[in-house]
């Protein structure tokens, strides 16, 4: 019989503390990861607080249409004389909200279908996977374009909903193959043998093991949603949204002649830069993700 009694709560608290210390360690291992985390956090803050930083409506200066970059307007102004930086900052909310909705739907739906399919196997699996195959085969962007002719995407949430419903295929496939391989792992078999509930097996054993995949897929879904959405706005197939990155791109190119003369170039570059920066941030964070979720790598 043992001498030390380790209270359960104490143990898990330690575990949790260890986790965050591990995360910190992983982040510190490469400075680029800190930069990535800072960028992602910055965009998140921008999405939440960005619109609060500026008056609504944004001030216009009709004496300075397409003004060149200056201290007052680091990225110049748009066709109406509105500060481009302000547009990017306030526009982040719509873009990121859609992206968040998309990511949540993509990941929840994809994970649920993938888990169900991989865990149940058999007939359900074949049906769901055929469906997934089909979804993956039908090209997304053309489908979106065609869909946009009969569907009106109004508002960030609806937009995210549609993108999410179209985007779960990849996640489902990945989660399913993960589930199938984990299913054969001893600890899942043991849990089944012990008679633990399916809820426990899925929620406590499978999901945490897949957390890095799911987290990575979430981030990738976020970027994917940002791209798809901004791209559709850029093509002009989505309804106008005053300060949206994609609309900015559209107006810069097709209204402002950014691909012809330099005046509207800052107006074009600002949202492009925002997208690039967001991508960079997410790329760097994904790089750290694998180590964060692997207790072994976390502690090394």
């Amino acid at each position: 019989m043992s001498v030390t009694v380790v209270p359960a709560a104490g143990a898990s608290a330690t575990v949790r503390r260890n986790f965050w210390r591990g995360v910190w360690r992983v982040m510190r291992r490469k400075p680029s990861r800190m930069v990535g985390a800072a960028i992602v956090a910055g965009f998140a803050l921008m999405g939440i607080f960005g619109p609060l930083l500026y008056p609504d409506p944004l001030p216009r200066d009709t004496q300075a249409l397409y003004a060149p970059p200056s201290w007052r307007h680091p990225f110049g102004t748009d066709f109406e004389g509105t500060d481009v930086l302000a547009l990017v900052v306030t526009g982040a909310r719509y873009v990121l909200l859609t992206a968040a909705v998309t990511a949540v739907i993509t990941v929840v739906l994809g994970t649920a279908i993938g888990l169900f399919s991989g865990f149940k196997r058999g007939r359900w699996d074949s049906v769901l996977m055929r469906l997934t195959d089909m979804k993956l085969t039908i090209p997304g962007l053309p489908l979106l374009l065609v869909l946009s002719t009969i569907w009106k995407f109004t508002g960030a949430i609806e937009m995210g909903l549609v993108l999410g419903l179209l985007g779960w295929g990849g996640v489902a496939r990945a989660v399913r193959s993960q589930t199938l391989s984990l299913r054969e792992r001893g600890f899942i078999e043991a849990a089944r043998g012990l008679g633990l509930s399916t809820g426990h097996i899925v929620g406590r054993e499978l999901l945490p093991s897949m957390a890095p995949y799911i987290a990575m897929n979430t981030l990738i879904a976020v970027t994917g949603a940002v791209y798809a959405q901004v791209g559709l706005f850029f093509l002009g197939v989505l309804p106008f949204e005053a300060n949206n990155w994609g609309v900015m791109l559209n107006l810069a190119v097709f209204g402002g002649g950014a691909l012809t003369t330099t005046a509207a170039l800052p107006y074009l570059l600002a949202p492009l830069l925002a997208i690039l920066l967001l991508t960079l941030g997410i790329v760097l964070v994904v790089d750290a993700m694998d180590e964060i979720f692997n207790p072994r790598l976390r502690e090394e």
Binding site: M1, A11, S12, P208
Partner: protein
């Protein structure tokens, strides 16, 4: 008490549109394990012994045959109602690295089944205090020879292979099983630690009355776990010899058993080789042969009869053990210890 009669299992291997082919894993296996007893299944990889273990643990279904647990035939129950029976059979995996969830501490790993157990007992009116789970976890770890204070808060990767295998056994014990199915439970453990685990299993038999079904390719460990138990020798899904451990080892009658035992390296200096060692023909692609005695293509003693007719398990030739051979003859193949001065 668990018995099986005529357990059959066939896997169909996927081979593209053509439909693949059928691979028989078990061909009508009978067995019985007494309470607190031991049974060992030996055979080479792919002989079906692992499949049998998984079927017993309820992780795999079988095609035909009947499994009876505590006198209840499983075929009479719905899959849902079978579960509590199969829960009494716990599998100890070969690989202690994959048998534990790397994202969960040992504490978490043990408390999940324990809280399930606590709920069951509560329903049965034998409710336990909240602290029971933690106490029981410590108790079980101590039982398998681990220091709970050290082990509980740790992740599997922070433990050695031997410690992990003990944790796996402790986890199996959380549900108070009647049978432990140990599938190559020590093959991935360092040599010097193996005996510790084996001794633990043996000890559990004695102290808790748990039966052990031992699946291995190593006859000597089978002997260690259950000198008093039964030995089943399986070749390509068929039990070819079955009898008390010591009998089968010292006087095997089936040529396959003899070949298997002959192949065990001799510790020269400590032992001298058995006199009648049997070296089988190497049939590199015997798996396609499906007529007559399954071992015939490799058997040095085969006759025409062996090619056409399949022998069944029985006591033919008056041997103490059952066997499936038309030409049973006990041979001394096992090395004997050198008597030290």
């Amino acid at each position: 008490m668990i018995t099986g009669t005529g357990i059959t299992k066939t896997f169909s291997r996927r081979g593209g549109v053509l439909g693949g082919r059928e691979v028989p894993a078990l061909r009508g296996v009978d067995f019985a394990i007494e309470k607190g007893g031991a049974a060992s299944f030996i055979g080479e990889s792919g002989c079906g012994k692992t499949t049998l273990g998984r079927i017993l643990a309820g992780l795999e279904s079988h095609d035909s045959g009947e499994i009876t647990i505590d006198g209840v035939p499983m075929s009479s129950l719905t899959p849902r109602r079978r579960q509590p029976y199969f829960r009494r059979v716990q599998l100890v995996h070969q690989d202690p690295y994959s048998a534990l969830n790397p994202t969960r501490t040992i504490h978490q790993t043990l408390s999940a089944p324990l809280s399930l157990r606590a709920r069951q007992m509560e329903r049965a009116g034998t409710g336990r205090p909240r602290s029971w789970i933690g106490e029981r976890a410590e108790e079980l770890l101590s039982l398998v020879g681990l220091d709970p204070g050290y082990v509980l808060p740790r992740y599997p990767h922070q433990l050695s292979g031997g410690m992990r295998q003990r944790v796996v056994i402790a986890r199996a014990l959380t549900v108070d099983p009647e049978v432990l199915v140990a599938d190559e439970a020590v093959s991935m453990i360092d040599v010097s630690l193996r005996l510790g685990i084996l001794a633990l299993l043996k000890d559990l038999r004695d102290r808790l009355g748990v039966s052990v079904l031992f699946i291995t390719h190593d006859v000597a460990t089978a002997r260690y776990i259950g000198t008093d138990g039964e030995l089943y020798v399986i070749y390509r899904g068929q039990v070819v010899e079955r009898g008390p451990v010591e009998t089968v080892i010292s006087a095997p009658v089936h040529p396959y058993t003899q070949a298997l035992l002959s192949a065990i390296p001799v510790l020269h200096g400590l032992e001298t080789p058995g006199e009648q060692r049997v070296v089988p023909t190497e049939a590199l692609d015997a798996s396609r042969h499906d007529r007559g005695c399954l071992f015939a293509p490799r058997c040095p003693f085969r006759t025409a009869r062996c090619e056409s007719e399949r022998p069944v398990l029985g006591h033919d030739g008056g041997t103490p053990q059952e066997h499936a051979c038309f030409h049973p003859e006990a041979r001394t193949v096992v090395a004997v210890p050198v008597s030290h001065s």
